[in-house]
Amino acid sequence: MRLTTCGIDVGSSAVKVVVLDDDGDGGAELRATHLERIRRRDPRVVLAAALRAALATAKVEESDLAYVASTGDGDVAEGVRTGHFYGMTCHARGALFLEPRARSVLDVGALWARAIVIDPRARVLGSRMTSQCAAGTGQFIENIARYLGVRLDEVGALSMTATRPEPVSGICAVLAETDVINMVSRGISTAEILRGIHESVAIRLAKLLRAAKGGTPVVVTGGLAQNPGLMATLRERLDEGGGHTEVLTHPLSVHAGAIGAALWGAFRRRKLAAGLGGDGRREAAAVAAAV
């Protein structure tokens, strides 16, 4: 029996919502995806708007959903969700859905990045996460783009036109920003600065993946997966010193967490229906109320 479920991924800069039909045997059909940037608004308001938009695209009512699964900052989805799922397992599941060959996942969000090693069924075997510094994150690139007056969606392509990247600190975002100010005053071109920034992020991500002992292919999820400049630099950095790591992205990479949540929601819904589990009466009651 097909189940229509909804996945909600509340990130630090955007809320992503997907609606999909899951057939319970590895088949699924995506019916809607929606991304709503938070832009200093109340995330609950943003979530409600994103949910409305996704349901409208999918042409379903909220009452038609067998399960509403949240991930990320799940507190925001309180009152809307049926249950909450861990971000790492959702990104793992979503990445495998987008690319069945995936053996590791680089989830690069606005405030941190995470390398996840998975098996062929998306079980998480290990992980590593960036430390407190903003170096290596989406917010860092966004800040630099703002300093340089470049639109975020132009950053990647522009960086690829550079021939001589200017090195910046790959350890500390504050030092890197100081480097950028210095470069601007020295007349370094915007493209070269951006290439240097992408190098610094890629070096950090490559270290993270190596530390986690991530296998190939690696699927990049999160907002930065759409940045072709970063992907190109990451491929170069991962292949340094021999060996080849296949780096894959997907147009829906930014929705991987929400897709994974929706798939987990369908799985949980079936388990609850079969009386095999679920880990709380409250969740079961919520499902009963939702169905």
Binding site: T33, L111, A266
Partner: protein, 437 residues
């Protein structure tokens, strides 16, 4: 409303009474001795009836009452760098603002600065700064580093000799009294009694569910015994009461008490290395109990005595016993032994994982912790988590970041545990991705 057990109120009353008595010490003619928690000689001080002051306890108590930031800013205005230990700056800032302690009672100036040096170089520099402020006696007990992890007879003799030649004469000088060895023995006997009960409480975490949280709850449990109450009747009563409560929780199959009541579902059992953050202690704790994570053992609760590992004060050999206490101080042990202690705890308490909380201020704890992480992972096969903040400087505590990292770590433990209970892998021929944002 915060849920409490009677022992928690008793502990709070003990502490409030301590600060109140401290405020009266000069009026009552009791000399005041400043000293530090690791390797403290409280039984010896009690035998002389002096009033002990623990500057790092003042700092953490100030932090829990949200007063440390102002003290730290005051110390930094006086020229102390951001890199200086925040305990030190909190204390110096408090001193600069009139030395009013965390409960509002004025901390009296010292008659003696008694430094029991157990590896923290900062403690030595801290007392050098206090020596500049106060015209008082200073005694230093040099406790040798236990580099091989074994306390030798020569080390013990070296410490005992300093007690006899340096520490006791200084205490006799500031109090005008001779050491009453029988009084010291009686103190040590009571210490031993309380230590038995405390060790039993910590060992109770071997049960499932654990009736205690040995880190967040544990810091309350160690308060009296790590400071001025060890060897007192009050401490014996408190630990007997605590043990009774834990026995009841155990019999009822209850999980640990948290600020929001008993933890109902023990999902993760963790061992924790490093001191907690004090400025956001409750928020820090909440990250763990919200996820059903219980700390079943910790190393921080051993800085004032390794009772879980068997140490007991011995009234039959008072000075040797004090020497052994100082020598076996957790931060006086080498990294390989600290790693083995952590690994043993993971096994003994059947922990799912271990978390290292690295604090910026404390080199004694934090130096080498990344190495320890890898070593404990190697020894146990269990992955470790690593988070960073500080003791009492709120600027270095990032709730969102720590929450994110702890949740990610627990996700990994959860994923490793769930085994085959995962959705089926995708069948590409039946996956349709036409919808484009």
């Amino acid at each position: 409303m915060i849920k409490k057990e009677p022992s928690m109120d008793a502990q709070k009353d003990l502490l409030a009474g301590y600060f109140a008595r401290l405020g009266r010490a000069k009026d009552e003619g009791r000399p005041v001795v400043y000293t530090f928690v690791p390797g403290n000689l409280v039984e010896l001080m009690a035998a002389f009836d002096v009033a002990p002051v623990y500057p790092e306890v003042n700092a953490l108590q100030s932090a829990m009452r949200q007063r440390s930031s102002g003290f730290i800013r005051e110390a930094e205005r006086g020229g102390h760098s951001e890199d200086v230990c925040s305990y030190v700056k909190c204390d110096l800032g408090m001193l600069a603002k009139g030395n009013v302690g965390p409960t509002g009672d004025t901390i009296p100036p010292p008659d003696l600065l008694l430094l029991s040096f157990t590896g923290c170089f900062t403690f030595m520099k801290w007392f050098e700064l206090l020596r500049e402020q106060y015209d008082c006696e200073v005694a230093m007990l040099h406790v040798p580093y236990v580099g091989d992890g074994v306390v030798t007879a020569a080390m013990r003799a070296y410490v005992v000799e300093q007690l006899q030649r340096e520490v006791i004469p200084k205490l006799e000088k500031v109090t005008g009294k001779r050491l009453d060895l029988d009084k010291l023995r009686a103190q040590l006997a009571r210490s031993r009694q309380a230590e038995e009960d405390l060790a039993w409480v910590f060992k109770s975490a071997r049960h499932r569910p654990s009736p205690i949280d040995a880190y967040f709850g544990g810091v309350y449990y160690i308060g009296p015994i790590f400071t001025s109450f060890r060897g007192s009747e009050d401490a014996c009563r408190y630990y007997a009461m605590l043990r009774g409560e834990v026995e009841e929780r155990l019999a009822a199959g209850l999980g640990p008490i948290t600020p929001e009541g008993s933890l109902g579902d023990e999902k993760f059992r963790l061992v924790v290395e490093g001191p907690p953050n004090w400025t956001s202690f409750r928020d820090f704790w909440k990250i763990f109990y919200d996820e059903g994570a219980v700390c079943v053992a910790s190393t921080y609760t051993q800085v004032g005595g390794t009772y879980e590992r068997g140490f007991r004060h011995d009234p039959a050999n008072p000075l040797e016993s004090l020497a052994d206490y100082c020598l076996s101080c957790y931060t006086n042990l080498p990294l390989p032994q600290r790693s083995r202690i952590l690994a043993d705890m993971v096994k003994e308490y059947e922990a799912d994982g271990f978390v290292i909380h690295s604090v910026k201020s404390c080199n004694s704890f934090s130096a080498g912790q990344l190495h320890m992480l890898r070593e404990v992972e190697r020894l146990t096969g269990v992955p470790g988590g690593f988070i960073e903040s500080d003791l009492v400087d709120a600027r270095y505590y990032g709730q969102a970041n720590i929450k994110n990292r702890i949740e990610s770590y627990l996700q990994m433990l959860h994923a490793r545990r769930t085994g085959g209970s995962v959705p089926p892998p995708p069948r590409p021929e039946r996956v349709h991705l036409e919808v484009v944002p």
